[in-house]
Symmetry: C2
Subunit: 341 residues, 2 copies
Amino acid sequence: MSNFESPSPASSSLSAAQLPAVCILGLGLIGGSMMRDLRAHNVECFGWNRSSATVEEATKEGFDASTDLQATLERAEASRALIVIGTPMTVVGTMLDAINEHAPSCGITDVVSVKAAVAAEVSARGMEERFVGAHPMAGSAQAGWSATLEGLFDGAPWVITYDLAAAADAAGKPVPERWIEVFSQVANLGAALGSQLIPALSDHHDASVARISHMPHLAAYAIAAAGEAGGPLAISLAAGSFRDCTRVAAAAPDMVMSWCENNTEPVLAALDDVIERLTAARTQLATEGTAMYLAKTGQIARVRYEARPAHRPIFRLRVGEGDWINQLELAESVGGQVDVF
Amino acid sequence: MSNFESPSPASSSLSAAQLPAVCILGLGLIGGSMMRDLRAHNVECFGWNRSSATVEEATKEGFDASTDLQATLERAEASRALIVIGTPMTVVGTMLDAINEHAPSCGITDVVSVKAAVAAEVSARGMEERFVGAHPMAGSAQAGWSATLEGLFDGAPWVITYDLAAAADAAGKPVPERWIEVFSQVANLGAALGSQLIPALSDHHDASVARISHMPHLAAYAIAAAGEAGGPLAISLAAGSFRDCTRVAAAAPDMVMSWCENNTEPVLAALDDVIERLTAARTQLATEGTAMYLAKTGQIARVRYEARPAHRPIFRLRVGEGDWINQLELAESVGGQVDVF
């Protein structure tokens, strides 16, 4: 196949050398871990956090952190930094407003777990040409500066969105140079941190994570609650199937709801799909005495999942050149990754 | 608490010494493994299997096995053996008919994964006074003589039913001596194999396993199928939650259906519970923008499950003496185990 090649390590030193300064808004698990990695790569990096406690902790470790958002953004503007929004979804709009006011030239990315809601905030402010969304899929159980780790993103999926380019391409229009520049910066950031870049349109990303993460978390909650409703004997007899099916039900409701509440339509669609399959099984069991259709469908799905390739197909991408947007679309269509040159 | 004591190892050598000869019908994973353990404990043990290949394999290893059901049962009758029905549910009725004809005095137990369906076959033939059901909860992924293992039951739950005793006690009638004798034999068998005896009424057992095993398997099938319906991008982004929630979806549909098809009402009730919880979450998410009620309920259930005691409470039981039936009921009510004296 000419479209992709065998896996190879990401050329992270090259990518780091090509990075501008990076300004991180929000120094939690993701933003803080990113700061650690960038310092290790000798990339200029500074950040803002609302909480002075976090800023003190980071400063004590020699990191360049501040509680002054305006000053941080003015510095980003002066150094033409790439701005990473590492805050919860609830304050993304506030961050974008501040960026508009104090850092009007900087490229912007984000690390929020949902992508369409962020893109909508960006579009509402007409900031699409300097925004490329991202979702580094690493570490979710712990939070805060104390949980930050160097190397957190190494080998992890790093979804990168390309909505503007796909829309321009579909309309037969050129992709703005400014956007291509930001795309390169965000791709290089992910590659520098050792992540696997997976291109996806925001809507497709959200529909996917609804089905393989948000809905399974909700299902795990339901299985756990229905199991416990069986009483002490049921829990005493619980073995591997209950243990594994409900493992993620231990996840913090606030975290899972921060995903679901900002991804309602895709989560509703995924929930409806599961409810329909269970209801059909219920009907078949009640009327025919078996639920074999669901069992066979589900087993095939799981076995296909287990049999997926150990490595994602890799597409080589020369950003801004030739049919590069088609390469992004092809990579997305197979869940592949891109190596950026 | 005077009703139970700290965990202690089962007194298995004592139990083995008290065992009669054991006749096993069906030498698959459970029946065959039981035969290995009993030989290791120097308990007289012989068995029957429909397939001559299995009998040849067992015989080659020096086990006492036959394809002649009538001869095997006549031998059981002559030695007043305890008969273990180790066949699939589908032929339990046939086995009971043969036992009625050729081994009319022997005590009977079974190792089928559902208990009410077996009890119904027993009742239909008026054989309740010499029957005590069991469900050794060990090893389910592999099948056949080649999968048999010595020590398979060591430390595993061994559900033992006591329907007749509970009914007699509730009616203020004495429990038949013959039944008490069979209960002792079955309890000693489980204890000799190192299992943890958990008393349960057949209906309660079935409702419990529907909630902590059968329904979770069906839910895993549905989550796997709905995940795969998200396409290659979704599967490419699948991480821990999808992997763990769908692990048991790899289970053979025939095995899972052998449970569900013989436990339809409890499985329907458990399915309805999960469907209702997911549907309520769907409604809350669609109307209020959150599914927090399910999330909080499910997290609490999982955390309670994780916080359950490392060891089940143990009730000391002198079979046939004093308030022993109440002890069985108390043990069941907390999912506890009994040590039999």
